[in-house]
């Protein structure tokens, strides 16, 4: 089978690692070969977390610049920073809720304008799905379920060879019991928003 290459970027604490492990579990349940690598740039200390996931026959664990089929960004400026992973055929999914880096928060840097950011991504990639995942996560009853909202949006694009039902099964097995319901609901809201 062909390989689908997915890059996920997030800021420490956004639940990127749970999202990628859910996808890995879903691939396992679907009998699809999967490989993943993570770079934690000191996540707990405010750094960027990047996961690369390869579904299919590839034997590499990483994705070169320009070679992602799908990019999911949990934070808008990080999505923009990761644009180098994309090419003209890449589908980009981004959360629109900014978490400005500390440098910006203390007035020592400028956060990109969100409209301009989306226009730039649209101009460089094949398509952009932009949603306020924090809003949907709150709607789902748990602000921390941003990761599940974005997973829903990702699956809706149809770019991954994995069915929504299988991802939900993986969410149920990987989430803490208390969060299963809100995580599933967050997934559904993300799935619905990414039309």
């Amino acid at each position: 089978m062909n390989t689908t290459r997915l890059v996920i970027v997030a800021v420490g604490g956004q639940g990127n690692l749970l999202a990628s492990s859910v996808l890995g579990e879903a691939a396992l349940l679907s009998d699809i070969s999967v490989r993943m690598s993570e770079i934690h740039g000191m996540a707990q200390r405010g750094g960027v977390v990047e996961s690369a996931m390869l579904f299919g026959d590839a034997r590499s664990y990483v994705i070169s610049d320009g070679e992602a089929d799908v990019l999911v960004g949990f934070e808008p400026s990080e999505t923009l920073r990761a644009l180098k992973k994309c090419n003209r055929n890449t589908i980009v999914i981004t959360n629109l809720h900014p978490l400005p880096p500390f440098t910006v928060a203390i007035g020592k840097g400028v956060y990109p304008d969100l409209d301009e950011l989306q226009a730039t991504i649209r101009a460089k990639a094949a398509g952009l799905v932009a949603i306020d995942a924090v809003k949907l996560a709150r709607q789902a009853g748990n602000e921390l379920s941003v990761n599940m909202v974005l997973l829903g949006a990702l699956i809706r694009t149809g770019k991954l060879p994995i069915k929504a039902e299988t991802v939900k099964e993986a969410i149920r097995s990987r989430s803490k019991q208390a969060f299963v319901e809100s995580n599933i609901s967050a997934f559904d809201l993300g799935y619905g928003a990414a039309q």
């Binding site: 770079i39 200390r45 994705i63 923009l80 400028v110 460089k124």
Partner: protein
Amino acid sequence: MNKLLTKERGRKMFLLGNEAIVRGAIEAGLAFGATYPGTPSSEISANLFEISQESDLYFEYSTNEKVALEVAAAAANSGVRSMAIMKHVGLNVAADALMTLAYVGVKAGMVVLSADDPFMFSSQNEQDNRYYGKLSGLPVLEPSTIEEAKEMIKYAFDLSEKLQEPVLFRTTTRINHSTGIVTLGDIAPPKTSGDFTKDPFNYVTVPAVSRNLHIKLLKHWDEARSIAEGSPYNFIEACPGNSLAGGKGPYGIICNGVSYGYVRDAVKDLDIEGKVRILRIGFSNPMPGALIKDFLKGCEKVLVAEEGEPYMEEAVKAFAQEAGLTLPITGKGEEEFSRLFEFDPAGVRKVIARYFNVPYEPVAVPDLSDVPEVPSRPPNLCAGCSHRATFYIVKQAAEGMDTIFPTDIGCYTLGVLPPLSMADFLICMGSSVSTSCGFSKVTKKKVISFIGDSTFFHSGIPGLINAVFNNHNFTLFILDNGTTAMTGHQPNPGVDTSLLNLTGYGRVSIEDMVRAAGVKEVTVIQPYKVKKSIEAVKKALEFQGVSVVISKEMCTLYAKGLKLQSKRRYQVGSKCKNHRDCINLLACPAFYLSEGRVQIDAAQCTGCSVCAQICPENAITPIKD
């Protein structure tokens, strides 16, 4: 129960490389492990530590890698399968023991795991530890995939027992921190207790004994070489094993570790599978010379794809010379592979295409020159980190002094970043103390150095004793945050293990240790008490000779995990006159600007109160419930 103890044979799990390694070791009947934590190996230890609390496995966090290796070596020489786990630079610390342990050998299987870090994601260098195999004469194994790592660990234990030598198991970050599907096997029951049979004329390495032991080591090396020739981990593609039947075509590629995956993908993507033969080396010391010569004989041109140093390339060229072969062989070079950093699929594809003259059009990367600059997101000391408070205190107390700040390895190395800028020199674990000795001797500057609690136990103590004995003149800060924070809050000898519900541990007092080393001027500060600490530090800085300040405050992230963090949160009130000392001097990530005014994000604030104490207007106050 730790998921890696699952008994279901044949079950498939999506495991981190480090988890797969642990599972492999457990399946091999590992009974004894020791480590000093270091990324990218840390999750191996974290899992083994957890498993040791649920099973018969003995596992310890040793004070440093040399200690860990020696502890494990004794177990292996008493007939118990053991493992010592460390990051690549940790093997430098353990190297003294490793070199002569190779002479002595082992009785039960012993694996020394070295986690190398090409690109230095979390390390001070990217040394290639395969050379330790050559230097010590020990076998080296290197997995290419997560699933292979699990199987190869079992092979490593068997090989070690067969050769009666420890085996070096070399991973890279992309194995440790990648995840893949692994099929579980049976868990071998571990043999947890052993016995030591006295045999001083084989164990006590006085020169007369070592002369014989070196002869023995070279015999083992010959034996290892013949095993490497037929090892299933050295294979010519399409046909595992040492047969030449698999693969055909005039081009040869020799590869190891994760570069094997990149090569396989590149050969497929470039559609040259029919023209290329691949030799994958997984057992890389001793190199399988006969297998390599046979491989070379069938090729017109050979490329060696390996991250790091030209370790295989040099060996392959030497074997070609022995076999009288003059075919072109290359690996590292300006047009080929770099010795720097890690490989990636596109880079490997490009080199293969160029070297073998294969037409190749790289994927068009979008032109990003017009994309607005994205503000950087550097790691930062956590909100409320006690190191930030200590750095601020030292800065105030040393105002006007011409200073040098030797630092060490831990979270506090982040003090290098502005506005703290409290790091001037760093080589390796423990170097803060010893370099302070040298700096203070040859310069007229005030030397103030920083070391964490775990690093102090690891390798700071000899430097401190040296400083007392040789009468050096500097102030050492021991940043005692009660845990080994950087690598994930592992215990160290100074830790209060009762907070972790662990029993059966001793505890070493840093203050007693420092006093026992002969330091006359010892001060203990609580860095969240800013004014008092500044006064105490001023006094310590004035002292002529070695002075030590122990800055004692629990890592705030650790405190949060233990539910010991202060519940109080702070806010900026109307008295604020926008001096911004809080932001400009402390740069705590809990601050943000809103409409030109400083605010505190209560979700990030940890209640340390340091900013409240330094605010010239006393505008920062606790939020009342």
